[in-house]
């Protein structure tokens, strides 16, 4: 047993664990069929992991309670709706091969509308969401915590509403902004350079590896940032804004960077989900989505990177798998039916997330894998001759 303990506390414990998990994840698709529903679920879960990591940066690291994160989901999806579909079929329509095409394969080449390569979509989503994040953050700079929550919530709703009613807006010379309550679809399949275009109908594995890669990149960036000058500035901001400013941390820039970076991650996730879900449906841009992501961060542990990954996996799994398939499926369903209860768990899924939030806040606000747990776990209060003055200031 002592060998195991040595392993656990050694410098290599974490990277080893992480490496094993990542390897397992990468090999996972080979153990299931290319179109299995569990593949579908896993892909969605990973996309939500990316989104949760983005929110964690804003709420967990920098302590800015953003209740409008759905805005970045919206922008990410809309980028694909605008630039990977025939939504803007008017563009360049007089040319012999109508539309604008950059880096796309044979099939999309033939379609009208604007079509950019997936990597360009991701970059576009990052840029747009970073700017949107900064704009959303701007009004919150002088506000206290609860007011920040309201303003970000307000922006999330405004953006959602504009997207839902976007078919009435034509800012681009008769082209509608969005399709309103109907989806923009279909969205081009992902087509990476040097690889064949993905085909959802036959094989989900490439999608899985793509989203896994995105998740790993975002994770990597998170770890690097957390242990950097900027990461420390964010945490200082969260702990004591006044002291942070007095130590030389420029508040405006640091806060805006948090919103922009967190938003960019949300945009990456959205840009992936566009092609994956094959449609951009503005009806999803509701406050409930922001809470869904928030529940992941809270459950996992505010500010804790691995915690948030775990939280995201659990909550997303609950949403895409446990509720529809397990709880509303077979055995449980028949038990409930026999009791004469005719509600489905899907109907109460948001109530369940609300319940998670309440439970966590009251019982274990630090989350499942608290941030800095290791430091607090092993810290001993050193006794010195000042023990008489233990009082915290």
């Amino acid at each position: 047993m002592s060998g195991l303990r040595e392993l656990r506390t050694s410098k290599w414990a974490n990277p080893l664990l992480a490496g094993t998990v990542i390897l397992a994840a990468a090999l996972f698709p080979f153990f299931v069929g290319p179109l299995d529903s569990i593949m579908d679920d896993s892909i969605l879960v990973l996309a939500y992991v990316v989104m949760a990591l983005g929110l964690n940066l804003v709420v967990g690291f920098a302590g800015l309670l953003d209740l409008g994160f759905v805005a970045f989901y919206a922008f990410g999806l809309l980028v694909t709706g605008w630039w990977a579909s025939d939504h803007f079929s008017d563009v360049n329509s007089k040319a012999s091969s109508p539309g604008i095409h950059v880096g796309v394969g044979e099939f999309p080449q033939s379609l009208a509308g604007i079509h950019f390569n997936f990597l360009l979509l991701v970059i576009g989503a990052i840029l747009i969401c970073a700017i949107a994040g900064a704009i959303i953050g701007l009004p919150t700079l002088r506000l206290r915590g609860d007011y920040i929550a309201i303003v970000t919530l307000a922006f999330g709703e405004i953006i959602g509403r504009v997207a839902q009613n976007g078919d009435e807006l034509t800012p681009f010379a008769n082209n509608k902004l969005t399709n309103g309550r109907q989806s923009i679809s279909p969205i081009d399949q992902i087509d990476l350079p040097f690889l064949e275009e993905f085909d959802q109908a036959t094989n989900l594995r490439p999608y899985f590896w793509t989203v896994l890669a995105l998740a790993l990149v975002v994770l990597f960036v998170n770890f690097r940032l957390r242990d950097s000058r900027l990461g420390r500035a964010w945490i200082a901001l969260r702990e004591d804004e006044v002291a942070a400013a007095s130590m030389g941390v420029p508040l405006v820039r640091t806060k805006l960077l948090a919103y922009a970076t967190g938003g960019a991650f949300g945009g990456i996730s959205g840009a992936f989900l566009g092609p994956y879900l094959q449609s951009v449906n503005a009806n999803q841009f509701q406050f409930g989505f922001s809470i869904f992501i928030l529940a992941m961060v809270i459950l996992g542990g505010l500010g804790s990177i691995w915690g948030v990954v775990l939280g995201a996996v659990l909550v997303a799994a609950m949403n895409v798998f446990v509720i529809p398939d397990v709880l509303d499926g077979g055995a449980v369903r028949s038990v409930l039916d026999s009791l004469g209860l005719d509600f489905t768990f899907s109907q109460v899924s948001f109530g369940v997330f609300g319940f998670i939030l309440v439970l966590m806040m009251v019982l274990r606000p630090q989350g499942l894998i608290p941030e800095r747990r290791r430091k607090l776990e092993f810290a001993e209060v050193t006794g010195t001759d000042e023990t008489l003055y233990e009082a915290r200031a």
């Binding site: 945490i235 200082a236 400013a245 508040l251 941030e371 209060v381 010195t384 915290r392």
Partner: protein
């Protein structure tokens, strides 16, 4: 901003500074200067406006009227992080550490203004950024040892440190930005006489070893009288006396301010 008669130039100076919150005047027409490499104290009864005054010097409050200059530069109403970057650092009356960060990390934040790593450099961890991180961490450890923390405490979470260590940590964090002027707000609050004496000694060392100018708010008269070259007394937001320790000790108005007018009871 040098004094015509050969006295050392003022590092910091305020000119008729006023701070009013609505109808309430917390600081009323205070003109004040701190000569370079000196140790100056501000004293006064509770509620005299001392911390409000400090807060204006460090940019947390904007003066309602008047100007403040530092090293010949007008810093009136400047943002706190900019003032820190210019070379002013402070500690707080009620310790304001970053509780979940370790002592070392707290001090590393103190160096924020002196670091150059940006978001992209941090993600890519370029050689320059790596070097800077190492240097900053090393410097933080040195600063903590310099103020008297022990090796074993350096990676402790700040909230778990003893009170005295927390006070020391705050000073180390303030020193981290390589300031020219150090503002200490009641640094010996809650300390026993032994500790206070050691802190007094330490302040002297700071001034000579690090070429620092120190401005203190203090209530402990022993410390004040022992370390200050000049003392300024505030009462009800106004400067009521200024001079060296001997003069101040004998000043009627100062005694009154602390003890009330004779014949009042």
């Amino acid at each position: 901003m040098s004094d015509g008669n050969g006295a050392p130039p003022a590092l910091l100076a305020t000119d008729h500074v006023v701070k009013a919150f609505g109808g309430l005047v917390a600081v009323n027409d205070v003109s004040f200067s701190v000569p370079q490499r000196s140790i100056v104290s501000i004293i006064g009864p509770n509620g005299a406006g001392k911390t409000t005054f400090f807060n204006m010097l460090t940019g947390l409050y904007k003066p309602t009227l008047g100007t403040i200059s530092f090293a010949d530069k007008d810093i009136t109403g400047m943002r706190p992080d900019k003032i820190t970057a210019l070379g002013v650092a402070r500690t707080f009356q009620n310790i304001r550490l970053f509780p979940t960060m370790s002592a070392v990390e707290n001090v590393m934040v103190g160096q924020h203004a002196r670091m150059r790593a940006g978001i992209f450099g941090s993600v890519l961890r370029t050689p320059r950024v790596r070097k800077e991180e190492r240097a900053v961490r090393e410097k933080a450890r040195e600063a903590l040892l310099y103020v008297g923390l022990r090796e074993s405490e350096l990676d402790q979470v700040a909230a778990n440190l003893s009170y005295g260590d927390q006070r020391r940590l705050e000073i180390a964090r303030a020193l981290a930005s390589d300031p020219a002027l150090l503002l200490l707000d009641e640094p010996t609050a809650g300390m026993n006489p032994n500790e206070s004496a050691r802190l007094t000694e330490f302040m002297d060392r700071l001034r000579s070893e690090r070429d620092l100018t120190i401005l203190l708010i203090e209530h402990d008269m022993k410390v004040v009288m022992g370390v200050s070259e000049r003392i300024t007394v505030l009462d009800h937001g106004e400067k009521i006396a200024e001079g060296d320790p001997v003069e101040i000790r004998a000043d009627e108005r100062v005694v009154e301010a602390y003890l009330g007018k004779r014949g009042d009871d």
